[in-house]
Symmetry: C2
């Protein structure tokens, strides 16, 4: 029940329109091809007018990244929840497949979210928004992973290999969104989870960035093989 004055509604609508135009540019020209002036042109506005809604291009791009993160998370959740809860392994599989499907269908968005720091590379706080969004996103997988854990199917990897400062850091950053991850913080389980996430990211990023094209025209069988191996590693061992 958030009260919304007429002004606020108009403003929100404009912001949405801006986002939409920027998104179209992202689609067409890639993360670095988004132009304030072009967005303004599409809205029939003056470039300066956009500064009433975003403090600059970087902010717009970052906002776009956050939106994409949300959208991707939605796709993953939808994929996961299409499989009944009685089959946690199937749910995790479905989540991974949804991640790849969305990413391959939205390469520009993927590059924006998971590529290197796009604008400059100040790196310090610039990516903080997108990184917290990334954490919230990864909890999507963590949930399915934890279901596996609870079912008692997942084993524990051999070595702990956890950073001492890690627990505090994750606690700090997952305060609101990621309650499930705190259970996964049992060091061995967390390491196992990270290892899986790394492999999933690796193959999807390679495919989306075209780094596999020299070897393979259709990366799906490769992905499925990697996924099968990954699931085997997660459930048995």
């Amino acid at each position: 029940m958030t009260i919304t004055s007429r002004r606020e509604r108009l403003r929100a609508a404009t912001i949405d329109e801006i986002r939409q135009a920027a998104r179209a540019q992202l689609l067409r020209y890639g993360p670095t091809g988004i132009s304030l002036r072009a967005v303004a042109r599409e809205l029939g506005m003056t470039p300066a007018g956009l500064y009433r809604y975003f403090p600059g291009l970087d902010a717009l791009v970052q906002d776009l990244g956050a939106c994409c993160h949300q959208e991707l998370a939605g796709a993953v959740v939808a994929g996961r929840d299409a499989v009944p809860a009685e089959d946690p392994a199937g749910r995790l599989l479905a989540a991974c497949r949804a991640f790849r499907t969305w990413s391959v269908a939205h390469p520009a968005e993927f590059a924006l979210m998971f590529g290197g720091p796009v604008p400059g590379l100040t790196g310090r706080d610039a990516g903080s928004v997108v990184q917290t969004a990334g954490v919230a996103f990864s909890t999507t997988f963590a949930e399915a992973f934890l279901a596996l854990l609870r079912q008692g199917e997942a084993g524990t990897p051999t070595d702990p290999l956890v950073d001492p400062a890690l627990v505090a850091r994750v606690h700090e950053v997952t305060n609101v969104t990621a309650a499930p991850l705190q259970e996964a913080l049992r060091p061995e389980a967390f390491a196992l989870f990270l290892s899986g996430w790394i492999r999933l990211y690796g193959i999807v990023a390679m495919e989306v960035f075209g780094q596999l094209r020299w070897a393979v025209t259709d990366a799906e069988p490769l992905f499925e093989a990697e996924l099968a191996d990954l699931m085997q590693r997660l459930t048995r061992q």
Copy 2:
């Protein structure tokens, strides 16, 4: 003995100077922050003058990418060859570690080479130069991997999962540089190699792109664990 007239020498020197300035910009401002005008400024030249040496900014950036690929390949080879040939597993390990070390030390260059298509995203032929360079680069690992194979330690994965058009493609693209890869083209071996390369790329890309910072402050133990698991997968199974 390629004859070099005085002009050609001067020209080569200028090109090198341009590369050097561009490289400095890459280091400071990232792949998208390279500016023709800034390079020209640093050389005490007019922007237009640079067009006598490169047909445009994109060409300069691509040339830079090729140079970086060469440099990275050199680092990996050096790391690999620091381990005696009697220990093929150790050589492969050393190559992987050298890959990570160089990449972490040169994040901008890594982003340029392995990130998404930087300028626009025409994608078709734009990345062809960098992709052939990537193939040549991956043979560095293939060599060490093949040594393992010949030693008879490496097993074969379960399913073939090879693209039918793959053999011809790789034959076509590795004609000169990558004779060793042709032996690895035995489908199962190639799949195993690709799987390993994917995992290696995955963890290094995640670290360099800062995608692991939310979870871990020092990614090295994670890398070592992943590497150990990877080697185990490659040698035994």
